[in-house]
């Protein structure tokens, strides 16, 4: 394979900051809490692959977006079968109270 061919196949993975050669996406295993700190204020779609007895979750960040609806649109477009969708921030915005 020529160098030029390889260069054409290099893909940047924005969520994991990895450069990947070829079409196969190999994602890095992440701690969900770390992902939440890094992408605070965004909605995350996370594929949980591992959990610890203390409640820590590990897996792959599938997608992220500040807009919840956009994130779901992306998941449907990519035909993602399984995902944990969670907000990286307080469930109730500070200063507000929930009355349901």
């Amino acid at each position: 394979m020529e160098l030029a061919d390889i260069a054409e196949r290099v893909v940047y993975m924005p969520y994991t900051h990895l450069w990947v050669i070829g079409g196969e996406e190999k994602m890095e295993k992440m701690n969900l809490e770390h992902a939440k700190q890094e992408y605070a204020g965004q909605w995350l779609a996370f594929l949980v692959t591992e959990g610890t007895p203390t409640g820590e979750l590990f897996g792959e960040l599938i997608a992220r977006n500040p807009d919840r609806r956009e994130l779901h649109r992306e998941l449907r477009k990519r035909k993602v079968k399984r995902a944990y969708v969670t907000f990286a921030g307080p469930v109730i915005k500070p200063g507000y109270a929930a009355i349901l």
Partner: protein, 139 residues
């Protein structure tokens, strides 16, 4: 399942399954809600289209009465607790909240729910009748 009580009571990773897949979402426990409520997008992700659902139900919210689509999802699971064919109301919670639903009685009615503020514990377990029939060796 047993968890520490916070206010509001947030339950993480409620799994909802449909014909196109599954989603796990964070929800608020709402023992006053007849139905479990999920955002439209979650229903669409797992293969339902609330817009064409023939079943509608009027729901009373803090802002008044609205009519919302009602669907039946294949399965819902919270920790080890599982329920099949659960009725769900599709309704978007305002975006100020970082949740995508409310866990209401259409799911909770399958279980025994104890909110113990004195001990600071929420416990949702199989109802005693279910627990008895699921004991190994019992007919």
């Amino acid at each position: 399942m047993q968890t520490q009580l916070d206010i509001p009571i947030i339950l993480r990773r409620l799994e909802i399954c449909g014909p196109a897949g599954s989603r796990e979402v964070d929800v608020i426990l709402d023992t006053g809600a007849v139905y479990t409520v999920l955002a439209w997008d979650v229903a669409k992700d797992i293969g339902y289209d609330p817009a064409i659902s023939e079943r509608r139900t009027p729901i009373i919210t803090a802002n008044g009465v609205i009519e919302a689509p009602l669907i039946t999802v294949e399965r819902m699971q919270l920790a080890e607790l599982e329920a099949e064919t659960v009725d769900i109301v599709c309704h978007d919670i305002p975006e100020l909240a970082g949740i995508e639903g409310l866990l209401g009685l259409s799911f909770l009615q399958h279980f025994r729910t104890v909110i113990d503020y004195a001990k600071g514990i929420l416990e949702i377990t199989l109802a005693s009748r279910q627990a008895e029939t699921s004991r190994p060796g019992r007919q």
